[in-house]
Symmetry: C2
Subunit: 123 residues, 2 copies
């Protein structure tokens, strides 16, 4: 290894503070951008959904993974879980205000990527 440009540690620390493994924002971002978190948040932008509706909308997700993903997002305060006292009880998931705020740039991300890529059927 030879020299090269390297930021002094203090400057690097400031520049990349959020990249520290102990930064709380990093945990939330890891959940938001987890394999399935992004799809759950984008799905819920259209309105509240029941568990099985979410599962239907996100192809390829297992019940276990969906439950685990939802649990993380509820803990982070991004998704709220509402149980209706019917028989059997109906559980609905929706975005909190924070979740809505966070899902906006995800929607934007999705739009930018889909606009650039050829759709299936073309090419």
């Amino acid at each position: 290894m030879t020299g090269g440009v390297q930021l002094p540690q203090a400057e690097a620390d400031q520049r990349y503070e959020v990249f520290h493994t102990d930064c709380p924002a990093r945990t939330v971002i890891d959940h938001v951008t987890s394999k399935w978190g992004v799809w759950v948040l984008i799905s819920l932008r259209g309105g509240d959904l029941r568990f099985y509706e979410l599962r239907e909308s996100i192809r390829g997700i297992s019940e276990k993974m969906l439950a685990q993903t939802l649990r993380g997002l509820v803990e982070d305060g991004l998704v709220r879980r509402e149980v209706e006292p019917t028989t059997p009880p109906q559980v609905t998931y929706g975005l909190t205000e924070f979740g809505r705020e966070v899902s906006e740039p995800l929607g934007d991300l999705l739009d930018r990527i889909t606009q650039r890529l050829p759709s299936r059927g073309e090419g």
Copy 2:
């Protein structure tokens, strides 16, 4: 399982087309929002970086994971890899135009999350 609201399949297909596992956008989004992809893209927003600078800036990433993440992002056309013909050769990574476009909402996402969370030291 009882009834409940469920979208007719054709309507669900249209609404969630990008959620299909065979949609090309889904692969790119999976790379972008992979455990480390998001941090590489955000790191490179500040300018081109060498491999070891990227590694320094993203705490907790292994060399192997960084190399793998960069390979995926280069394949997707989000990151460009430039080799300077020096001795030893220097390899620099930077965002392509597509990468810059995609990293914008990621920066936005990061800002929104960090603004909402208490910083370390408070609370």
